[in-house]
């Protein structure tokens, strides 16, 4: 009986402590940061296969050496990662990141040229890859490039 009472008292204390901690601003921010969801399903998706299905209608991708991704080896900021992509024969193009909670960064459509050229600046939360998927002649080609974010310690 006594043990049961002590257990209930301890449980109540821990529950109250947990409730108080969850009300602290820092903890609330950590949870709030995951709340906003993009209204477009392809941008809200956390699965790359769903993104490929949305834009290309298929998910099977093969490595493609003709896709050229130019980016710095090291970027000094998570908020500013410049990159450029040159993709010959591309009909559609999708750029994703492996480290962001939602992978899709940008997509390019209605390409009129024989070679698609994209230049942009992305946000990356930590060291990771920029992956480019290109639709060409009904097949998906893939290329990736690793970018290190300085200041982030990578535990190898």
């Amino acid at each position: 009986m006594l043990n049961k009472r002590r257990f209930l008292q301890k449980s109540t204390r821990w529950f109250a402590l947990g409730t108080l901690v969850s009300l602290l601003p820092g903890v609330r921010t950590a949870f709030a940061s995951r709340n906003f969801v993009d209204p477009r399903p392809e941008f809200a998706s956390i699965d790359t296969k769903l993104i490929l299905e949305f834009y290309f209608g298929q998910t099977e991708a093969a490595d493609d050496a003709t896709i050229q991704i130019n980016a710095p080896l090291v970027s000094g900021s998570t908020q500013l990662v410049p990159f450029s992509i040159i993709a010959p024969g591309a009909e559609k193009l999708v750029v994703t990141s492996t480290v962001n909670p939602q992978p899709l960064i940008l997509a390019m459509d209605q390409i009129r040229e024989t070679t698609a050229v994209v230049k942009a600046r992305a946000r990356m939360q930590q060291t990771g890859d920029i992956v480019c998927y290109v639709l060409r002649n009904g097949q998906i080609g893939r290329a990736s490039r690793r970018i290190m974010i300085s200041g982030h310690w990578e535990n190898n």
Binding site: F36, F43, I105, I111, V118, M124
Partner: protein
């Protein structure tokens, strides 16, 4: 509302166009803490002489003050290049320039 600049740069094999929008690209990360609500560019279109040349769909992981560039192989002197964008709040902007 947000200034838009279009740079047209002649290259050996064509014309390179860069569009820079001075847009904050808020991701809505701190909106529940009284921070700015999500507001970022969702669509950006390049047009050559009025017809769509390339269409970009952007998300919240594009940087603040985004610079988006593309290439025009067939643009010649006198051609008109236009760029227009729209953000998630419904704001719009555009810029245009002539190939010299």
């Amino acid at each position: 509302m947000y200034p838009t600049r279009l740079k047209i740069l002649p290259r050996d094999t064509g014309i390179e166009a860069h569009c820079e929008v001075l847009h904050p690209m808020y991701s809505g990360k701190h909106s529940e803490e009284g921070g700015p609500s999500a507001n970022y560019i969702t669509q950006l279109v390049f047009r050559l002489n009025g017809s769509i040349h390339a269409e970009f769909f952007l998300g919240k992981f594009v940087s603040k003050h985004p610079v988006i560039g593309t290439f025009f192989e067939n643009a010649t002197s006198g051609d008109q290049i236009e760029v227009s964008w729209q953000d998630i709040s419904g704001n719009q902007g555009q810029a245009s320039g002539t190939v010299e």
